[in-house]
């Protein structure tokens, strides 16, 4: 599969701006040197616990959050290093669907106006053309045309999710960044939304970046998975390989802790240590070393590089050669 989007050494600092007559706040390294690529037509899962920077990574790739360092390439063309509005102009093929669908819609605007606005902003005209595209996208996401007259508070969680999807799909993007696309949804609604996402990808030839903390959903939906911990990627691999044989100690811990629909899983089987440190106090060297059962002195000194190893996965761990029977490439 051809690479469609690539980020290299992406760093995003949040906060810490100097403000007039007020105390300066130290910035948080929300995204700290992330490199990854999206291949045309795939679903890449980005997984991590809250505060690991996965949403900030999505917002930086989208362009509404400006990167502090690093490059973003779309079809091989550099689209970073510019102000957010220019970045959005250059990255129109990339769209983002927010986690909280109810909050992502202006409560005073009807659904029809909201969808129309997305087209107006992006210079689609005339009115009849926009109306046609809105009707088509509503059919695509499985909503009734009468939804146009409704207001966000009149819709259910599943319907709102479909509206936010429709709002970006009406712009015919190639890459959709889905931020926790099923959080807050009931199990039965989640199933229908996941099926819709699958169908849309096949029909419209979309590429997804699927940001989630739900490993069961990620396993079902994604082709490849990237695991993040405190702003850095610790492991990427094809989904099946990652779930069968995790290499990074954090991936191992995360998989062991994730609840699964399997009876007889021992509550006490996995070794879990501590809680994630705050993003304002990231440990030196490997950020995971404070909770890692395999940590040695060297882990506190240097940040491990994301090494490409034999089965196509990448791991950022000083001790992976001892933990996995795989060769470096």
């Amino acid at each position: 599969m051809a690479e469609i989007l690539a980020v290299e050494g992406l760093v995003t600092l949040l906060g810490g701006e100097k403000r007039f007559l007020r105390a300066e706040r130290p910035p948080v390294r929300a995204v700290d040197g992330v490199s990854l690529e999206l291949r045309e037509g795939e679903v890449l899962g980005v997984v991590g616990e809250s505060g690991c920077g996965k949403s900030t990574l999505g917002r930086t790739i989208l362009g509404i959050q400006r990167e502090t360092a690093g490059t973003v390439r779309l079809d091989g063309r550099v689209v970073s290093g510019v102000d957010p509005r220019t970045a959005r102009q250059m990255r129109r093929d990339v769209q983002y669907v927010h986690q909280d669908a109810a909050a992502a819609l202006d409560p005073w605007w009807s659904i029809g106006r909201t969808l129309d606005e997305a087209l107006v902003i992006n210079g689609v005209g005339p009115g009849e053309e926009r109306a046609r595209r809105i009707d088509r996208v509503l059919r695509d996401v499985g909503l009734d045309p009468t939804t146009k007259r409704r207001y966000p508070h009149e819709l259910s969680g599943g319907q709102l999710r479909r509206v936010t999807l429709a709002r970006v799909l009406v712009l015919a993007p190639r890459i959709v960044l889905l931020d926790e696309p099923t959080s807050g949804l009931d199990l039965s609604v989640q199933a229908t939304v996941l099926r819709l996402l699958r169908e849309l990808r096949a029909e419209l030839g979309l590429t997804y970046m699927f940001i989630s903390h739900d490993l069961s959903v990620v396993r079902l939906m994604c082709d490849r998975v990237a695991i993040m911990y405190l702003g850095r990627i610790v492991e990427t691999a094809e989904t099946a390989k990652l779930f069968e044989s995790p290499v990074h100690p954090y991936t191992t811990m995360l998989l062991a802790a994730a609840p699964r629909l399997a009876t007889g899983q021992g509550l006490h089987a996995a070794a879990i240590h501590g809680e994630p440190p705050s993003a304002t106090a990231v440990p030196s060297g490997c950020a995971f070393r404070t909770r890692c059962p395999h940590a040695i002195d060297a882990c506190a000194v240097t940040v491990p590089t994301l090494d490409l190893i034999a089965d196509g996965r990448r791991v950022a761990c000083h001790r992976w050669p001892e933990l996995a029977p795989l060769e470096r490439v």
Partner: protein, 279 residues
Amino acid sequence: MLVFRKFLRDVSAVIGLVIVLLTAVVALFAPWLAPKPLDAHESHPLLRLKPPSAEAPFGTDNLGRDVFSRVILGSRAALTVAVLVVSGAMLIGVPLGLVAGYRSGWVSETLMRITDVFLAVPQLILALALAQLLGPSLKNAMVALTLTYWPFFARIVYAETRRLKTSVFVEALQGLNASSFRIMFAHILPNAAPPIIVRATIGMGFTILTAAVLGFLGMGATPPDPEWGLAVSESRQYLPDAWWFATFPGLAIFLVVFGFNLLGDGLRDVIDPRLRRSR
């Protein structure tokens, strides 16, 4: 309609609305409602300071004019001042608050520090100083009140904008590459509307009160205009014998201010997008 049903359940808000509507009707038809519309300017020395009677239900003033007619005629000045001053203040304060809240950096800081300076000086004193500078007249009083009232709107809109700027729907619009102008005026402004409307409503009552104080202190309306504050001022030397001369214009001020305040509080609860229904 859901909004009306909810509003009608709030008794005090309905009372406020009735008072405000009545005042508006009275102001609109004042020259026809007042039994002696010419008493706006004419004086009748022979009828000086007569107590309330069938002929003059609120009595007569020091120049023999019918107080009842003058209270009715005075509602025009009161409402005109309220509407013009509050709209003027909103016209200045709302855009400034929006821009200052949405942008960050020196533009925003400068605008808000200017606002703070205005807010640090009591509005009445500032208005008095300005009115003095411009010369006493109702028009100048309105200018003075407008120039001192806008910071209240700038503050509210600024705070609301700050809050809404980080909301998810604004971020979603940025993601669609919407312009700042569109985000500010088409999205943030309607969402910030409830506190603005409440403030404007209560502000109308407040402005009527302040205008009356200016009139009372001789910085507002000029004789012989029928204005409530001015009337109370003129009545001072005839108290307590001619109690009606001060009481009825004073009651009018009280009632209208009270009505606006009740209405403002009631509106707070009903301006809510969740009460919108698709047709």
